[in-house]
């Protein structure tokens, strides 16, 4: 435990990082976040009407990343995502459904949108979800958890990986249902966030993220976070 204590006592840089979720409806965007944040999964989850703004800390050996996770709140359904959504997003999760080829086409669309609208330095992870519905857990060493012995995979690991490589994206296949690889996605993103963002030492929430050396106004003055939470890695 001594290493844990040492990590806890040494002040690690903490950075707030905005993460946006993108992907076709029903690919499991909210479920992934739900799994990440509270290690929970809900069958037959209703379409996103909640999940607007979650925060979750991710502690790495040398720094703490505080994810501020924005869900689409359904505004993507009729192509009505606001520019506010992309703005200042340092990271994005573009999600598709391994059992639904059209969702990968949609994922390409979102990657293009991010390149056009978001910061050029944005870290994007391409995530093929619903690995539990695929019998041959390709690539990531996952064994099948499909109940009905039927492999419903329609998008090969290779196809996803190739696209990710072309676009310079992180790539994972996950199951929000079983939790397979979910934490790895967020850890990989956290590790890939450029150092300069960490060094900015932005405060809580959205404040100070815009940079340019000028202060934003904190409208809800809060007491500063009392104790840095220790890393238990």
């Amino acid at each position: 435990m001594s290493s844990v204590e040492a990590a806890a006592s040494a002040p690690k840089p903490t950075a707030s990082v905005k993460l946006v979720l993108l992907g076709e409806a029903a690919v499991g965007k909210s479920s992934l976040v739900l799994r990440f944040v509270s290690n929970d999964f809900q069958e037959n989850k209703e379409p996103t009407i909640g999940a607007a703004f979650l925060t979750q800390k991710c502690s790495l050996p040398n720094r703490t990343i505080k994810f501020e996770i924005w869900d689409t709140a359904g505004q993507e359904r009729f192509a009505s995502l606001a520019p506010m959504y992309y703005r200042n997003a340092q990271t994005a999760l573009v999600v598709y459904d391994l059992t639904k080829p059209t969702s990968l086409i949609k994922a390409r669309h979102w990657v293009n949108e991010l390149h056009a609208q978001a910061s050029p330095k944005i870290v994007i992870a391409l995530v093929g979800n619903k690995l539990d519905l695929c019998t041959e857990g390709e690539g990531e060493g996952e064994t099948s958890t499909a109940d009905d012995d039927e492999d419903r995979r329609k998008v090969s690991t290779e196809e996803g990986r190739k696209f990710a490589e072309e676009e310079g994206l992180l790539f994972f296949e996950t199951s929000a249902k079983t939790g397979a690889n979910v934490r790895d996605v967020f850890l990989a993103i956290a590790s890939k966030i450029p150092e300069e963002i960490i060094n900015k030492r932005s405060g809580t929430g959205t404040k100070g993220r815009a940079g340019a050396g000028e202060r934003g106004v904190d409208l809800e003055p809060r007491t500063s976070e009392s104790n840095a939470q220790g890393c238990a890695c």
């Binding site: 009505s80 106004v217 809800e220």
Partner: protein, 550 residues
């Protein structure tokens, strides 16, 4: 769990548009968006449309591509549902259209304002970033004077006589309690504020001008006394709420950006969003709305619309200029914004004040090294345009003079005053004693110029109708009246304002609280999250899983 959601999820699959709704909101301007969010949180089934492919309606902030399309549209004789018209647009070549966000109805937010309270209460403020605005300049006798907005400013000002200082101090003492001391002003109710200040407080013209036009941000010296007092008090009480500035602005655009935040809040509460969708017709009797693609939507309660030809009382004139100068000379330290006011009779006989909001690149509206100037006046037609162009010219002269490198700013002994603690301070910045003696060596490069007019619309009362009209943004550079209007519309739908945004953000943050975090640093606006299993991951500090119920 899911109490907020169960009734609001559209019955059809998520990709199929709903074919009915309680309330159809048409237009994503600020007022309608507040109403949409308030209704959605109250449990009303809201469908929110906008004919434009962007959010913000008549309050939008547009990139340059959108701005071009917008000017074409409002100039087209076929367009008859917008209060804007008569646009002249120049855009310099080789600008990156996406690096700009041009406000078509720019506004600033005082730190004491009902809208700010609502933003915090609704948590929409968390989607936005606000920047300080502490510089208010008045144009007088060919120079810009920084407005003495605090007692310290007055105390240290070298431009004021002792007698004037005393009168000003007396007035400032009164104005913070003006509403409790009607005996002082009641006889001036409805009468010009300038008369009141002169007769009751012996204030001189320059101080009256600053108080009325730069501090109260009113357009005419004959504005009613009680309105002006209210706004002067608001300015003073807004100082020091968040710092040494009375006002703020939202980054990347004003009302349109705030509207986006409310739309997002509405979506979180279950409202359905469709941009780029026109309403072809609405039958007030049956409540059937027909969209431009032929879809029919049954509206059971109300149509709330900000589009349509409304009766208008008068026209106002607006101008936008993007300049290749950072304009930091006008900003306070660490800020990126200023207001410059040209009072009446300072621009070749202008009847109304011209207000200019100057935003630098820190606003996120223009790239580094540039600034955007928003000018407006209540004057209409050719005279309005003339006033704005004259004001533009003065601003150009001033910024060239201020930013000329070899220009030396002489600080003589008389310009230095001392605070009670002995700290020397240079008196109010004299932005050029006389511009007339200055011949600029360079010219100012305009990257964009836009002028247009706007009708001030007055929605007719529509008793018994299913349709509620939302008026266009006012000329006022402050958001006054927006929340009141939204509440009135809300009342028109629900019959009460009692539960207006009465959202109980029930945060289940036991875990976070137990670890000593202040509860509100870790609030997630999320529904349908169960946080019983917190703490299972070795890799993560579980912090947040909030539940929002209504």
């Amino acid at each position: 769990m899911a109490s907020a959601s169960s009734s609001k999820v559209p019955a059809a699959s998520p990709n199929t548009p709903p074919d009915s709704c309680d309330v159809l909101v048409y237009g994503t301007g600020l007022v309608e968006s507040i109403v949409a969010a308030a209704l959605a949180w109250q449990g009303t089934n809201v469908l929110h449309l906008d004919p434009n492919p962007f959010y913000g309606g008549l309050w939008a902030s547009l990139n340059l591509e959108e701005l071009k399309a917008w000017t074409d549209k409002i100039n087209s004789p076929a367009t008859n549902d917008t209060p804007f018209s008569n646009a002249y647009l120049y855009i310099s070549r080789n600008l990156d259209p996406r690096k700009y966000a041009i406000d078509i109805s720019p506004h600033v937010l005082f730190t004491r304002a009902d809208l700010l309270n609502l933003l915090i209460q609704s948590r929409v403020s968390r989607y936005l970033e606000f920047k300080p605005l502490g510089s208010f300049h008045t144009f007088e006798q060919d120079s810009f004077e920084k407005v003495p907005g605090t007692k310290e400013d007055i105390f240290t000002s070298q431009n004021l006589t002792l007698l004037t200082k005393r009168s000003l101090m007396r007035f400032m003492k009164f104005v913070v309690i003006w509403d409790e001391t009607p005996d002082v002003w009641l006889e001036y109710k409805g009468k010009p504020i300038s008369l009141f200040l002169k007769e009751k407080f012996n204030l001189d013209e320059p101080q009256i001008v600053e108080l009325v036009h730069s501090i109260a941000l009113l357009s005419s010296p004959s504005s009613p006394t009680e309105l002006a007092l209210d706004r002067i008090k608001r300015y003073l009480s807004s100082m020091q709420v968040y710092g040494n500035f009375p006002a703020m602005y939202s980054m990347y655009g004003s009302g349109g950006e705030i509207a986006q935040g409310f739309c997002r809040s509405a979506a979180v509460a279950g409202a359905v969003y469709r941009l780029g969708t026109k309403l072809s017709s609405f039958d007030d009797e049956s409540g059937v709305a027909v969209l431009d693609n032929g879809e029919k939507i049954k509206v059971t309660e109300k149509l709330i619309t900000s589009y349509g030809l409304l009766p208008s009382s008068r026209e106002i004139t607006r101008m936008v200029a993007v300049v290749e100068k950072d304009c930091k000379e006008w900003f306070a330290e660490g800020e990126s914004a200023a207001i410059v006011v040209f009072p009446p009779e300072t621009l070749d006989g202008n009847k109304y004040a011209v207000q200019a909001l100057v935003l630098g690149s820190g606003s996120g509206q223009v790239p580094l090294g540039q600034a955007v100037w928003y000018l407006s006046t209540q004057e209409s037609g050719e005279q309005g345009r003339k006033d704005l162009f004259l004001a533009l010219e003065k601003m150009e002269e001033s910024i060239l003079r201020e930013s000329t490198e070899d220009f030396e700013f002489d600080v003589s002994e008389e310009d230095i005053a001392y605070l009670p603690n002995g700290m020397p301070v240079v008196s109010s910045v004299r932005l050029g004693e006389s511009l007339r003696n200055f011949t600029p060596k360079e010219s100012l490069k305009y990257l964009l110029k836009l002028t247009y007019t706007q009708k001030v619309t007055v929605p007719p009362p529509q008793p018994g109708s299913k349709t509620i009209y939302v008026p266009a943004p006012s000329i006022d550079i402050v958001y006054d009246g927006v929340v009141t209007r939204a509440q009135a519309i809300y009342e028109g739908v629900t019959g009460t304002t009692e539960d207006f945004f009465e959202v109980d953000f029930e945060d289940e943050d036991d875990d976070a609280t137990a670890t000593g975090n202040p509860p509100d640093t870790s609030i997630g606006d999320v529904a349908d999250i169960d946080d019983e299993e917190l703490g299972d991951h070795p890799d993560f500090d579980e912090e947040v899983a909030g539940e929002m119920t209504i």
